[in-house]
Amino acid sequence: MAHANPDAVFAPWDDPVEKPLIQFKNVTKRFGDFTAIDDLTLDIYAKEFFALLGPSGCGKTTLMRMLGGFETPTEGTILLDGVDIGPVPPNERPVNMMFQSYALFPHLSVWDNIAFGLKRSDMPKDQIGDRVEQMLKLTQLGKFAGRKPHQISGGQRQRVALARSLAKAPKLLLLDEPLGALDKKLRHETQFELMDIQESTGTTFVIVTHDQEEAMTVATRVAVMTEGKLAQVATPEVIYEAPNSAYVADFIGDVNLIEGTVEVPAKRASETSVAIKWSATAPAINASADTPPPAASSVTFAIRPEKVAISSTKPKAANVLEGKILDIAYLGNISTYHVEVAPGLIIKAQATNAKRVSRRNLTWEDHVYLSWTDTAGVVLTA
């Protein structure tokens, strides 16, 4: 999240006075017997870059198509600026969409593709040319204005599609897997371009993606979806650091999940501390939670690999586990160690490769200690 002024944090969702641009109210969408969206309620605010993230078939595309007007909700209402847009056909919505396939008109030049929506609007003809030039400049496509879509590269096509959907200055822009067809390097560059364009035009963007890294990079807020429901809606930091369920923790990034039961708290323990018994022999895991779950309830302890330290000598820490290195995944900048701490329980620990590999002192079959502080992990009840 690159915002010009660090003092004014962009967080309209925390402001009770702020009115949302889009409101889903108990929206359900069924296709025959299949429920694509299940009683979903969601607010999206103006100027947000909102990401819908989830595996394929989770309903994220259906949700977006309902905003575009290509699907109508079976139950519930969708409000745009406080107006129910259920009965409004796609051509009358102040919403534009960038399609996954780009859907560029193959018989029209780049110029005519961008001008297509403007010609259908009530914009005076002499202003259309200026607007198209402006869009070509924004997306750096000036040189290709006269070409047909099949005469330009994939990245250029992606930009034409973006320019075309932005040309009418919609209140809301929908992007359906906009970078899916690009190779990895171009995708990274384009993500930052998208963010720049979103900021400079001040348009609200809703992006659908299955790439969690992309969602984390571009979005102000991320909605993680599963089976037609929202698992969690929060900023990328919150989603990553404080997932509300094992599903979200597992879906975003790499995580160690340890199941256990909450022990009766010791007398001297602070109010926020939780001890989780996960094995008959090993010591309990010390963690903390704002509202500790009741004793004897079963919970999942989630901790990210980069928060687990690995050492060959026993360190002093709130949690220390002994284990044996089974595998090392060398990724260049970091290495991930798979350590077996109990029969069948493997915990991943990450360490940056500050030293060169030849001087690394940990190797396969080594006996090591894993450690983390009592605030490094999250206690999940769901």
Partner: protein
């Protein structure tokens, strides 16, 4: 290229040479001969020796059927098309600003260009006729039957192509919009008539269209008409027969282009402010153009030389060149005139065939 490559190409060329070019040369030779009461029924032939045979060949038969007028008309048409292609882009640029590109604007520009082209050609013809009076003899038509048959075939082919398009496009569109699992069945239903002989299917229409036929019986029984309609042996029956027979040739290429089309294009057009109808005109229609052109040629080319349908369903007043050709060969036994008619028919057909090939090639290039 090695000898294997050459051989591979030589096989189809040899095939064409033997099965098309050689018979064509024979027909061409007969068309330049004279009628005779002999076997074969023309003279001269190879029995007279090769060079003496060639020396007595003449263009008499072509003059008789009015080939000069056909060639002149043809040249005029080609000139019109060429001129149209030159004028149309200029008129479009002059008449319309960059931003106007609706189908109606284009149609207006096209009509203007066509009118200008026709007037220009008419002026050229008038000047030529004035400067070279000898040309009048060239376009003289001794027997109007053949010229009328060419014109009437052209008219029937154009009208039935248009009717087939009118009926075929909605069918193809509905097929392409049908649910995925229905499409193979629908495609099958379109192809199914080919499983029966074409002759039998056309014959069946006699049973439907005749005065005592099923159609008249149905209409009489429900009281729409009090007298049976005379449909059989009229041009209407010929149109019914042609449209029925060639409908699959129109539906299949249009279906192929519509089926390939990305559905999200229409959604994108609607998203950008088009109504369903304008999305069709601005996106679906232009993108299905190659299919429409291919379908039109596939109907037009065989209909122009059609013989079976007019002879079974048409009356004596429906004159088509295919029927005339048949009568010259088998009723009059005038092989030389019949051959001349066939050669001119082939010449007329070459233009649409070349245009068809160019359309196919252009589409292949677009697909890369």
């Amino acid at each position: 290229m090695n000898w294997r490559g050459r051989l591979l190409i030589a096989i189809p060329y040899a095939w064409l040479l033997v099965l098309f070019l050689v018979p064509f040369v024979i027909v061409l030779k007969i068309s330049l001969s004279d009628i005779a009461l002999a076997i074969p029924p023309y003279t001269p032939n190879l029995k007279d020796g090769f060079w003496p045979m060639l020396s007595v060949l003449d263009l008499e038969n072509y003059a008789f059927i009015g080939a000069g007028a056909v060639v002149a008309g043809f040249a005029g048409l080609v000139l019109c098309i060429a001129m149209y292609r030159v004028i149309f882009p200029r008129i479009r640029r002059a008449m319309l600003p960059e931003t106007a590109d609706t189908i109606f604007d284009s149609a207006a520009a096209a009509l203007t260009a066509l009118a200008v082209a026709i007037v220009n050609v008419a002026i050229v013809v008038a000047v030529l006729a004035f400067l070279f009076p000898a040309l009048n003899a060239f376009v003289e038509i001794p027997d109007f039957l053949y010229f009328a048959a060419y014109l009437s075939s052209l008219k029937i082919a154009v009208i039935s192509t248009f009717l087939t398009l009118l009926i075929g496009y909605p069918i193809a569109y509905a097929m392409a919009r049908a649910a995925q699992h229905w499409r193979p069945t629908l495609l099958m239903l379109v192809i199914l008539p080919f499983w029966t002989s074409f002759l039998i299917r056309v014959y069946a229409w006699i049973g439907i269209l005749s005065t005592e036929g099923y159609l008249n019986q149905l209409l009489l029984s429900i009281g729409v008409i009090s007298e049976p309609l005379a449909i059989l042996n009229t041009p209407i029956a010929v149109y019914v027969g042609v449209v029925y027979t060639y409908l699959p040739f129109m539906v299949l290429p249009i279906y192929a282009t519509l089926d390939k089309m990305d559905d999200s294009l229409v959604e994108a057009a609607e998203d950008l402010g088009c109504t369903a109808l304008s999305a069709f005109w601005l996106v679906t229609a232009p993108l299905s153009k190659p299919g429409v052109i291919a379908g039109c040629f596939l109907v037009f080319i065989p209909t122009l030389g059609e013989f079976v349908i007019p002879s079974l369903l048409g009356g004596s007043d429906t004159v088509m060149i295919g029927k005339v050709l048949w009568e010259e060969f088998f009723n009059n036994r005038d092989w030389p005139v019949a051959s001349a008619v066939a050669v001119i028919l082939l010449m007329i057909l070459i233009i649409p065939i070349v245009l068809f090939q160019r359309n196919e090639q252009k589409q292949r290039e677009l697909e890369g």
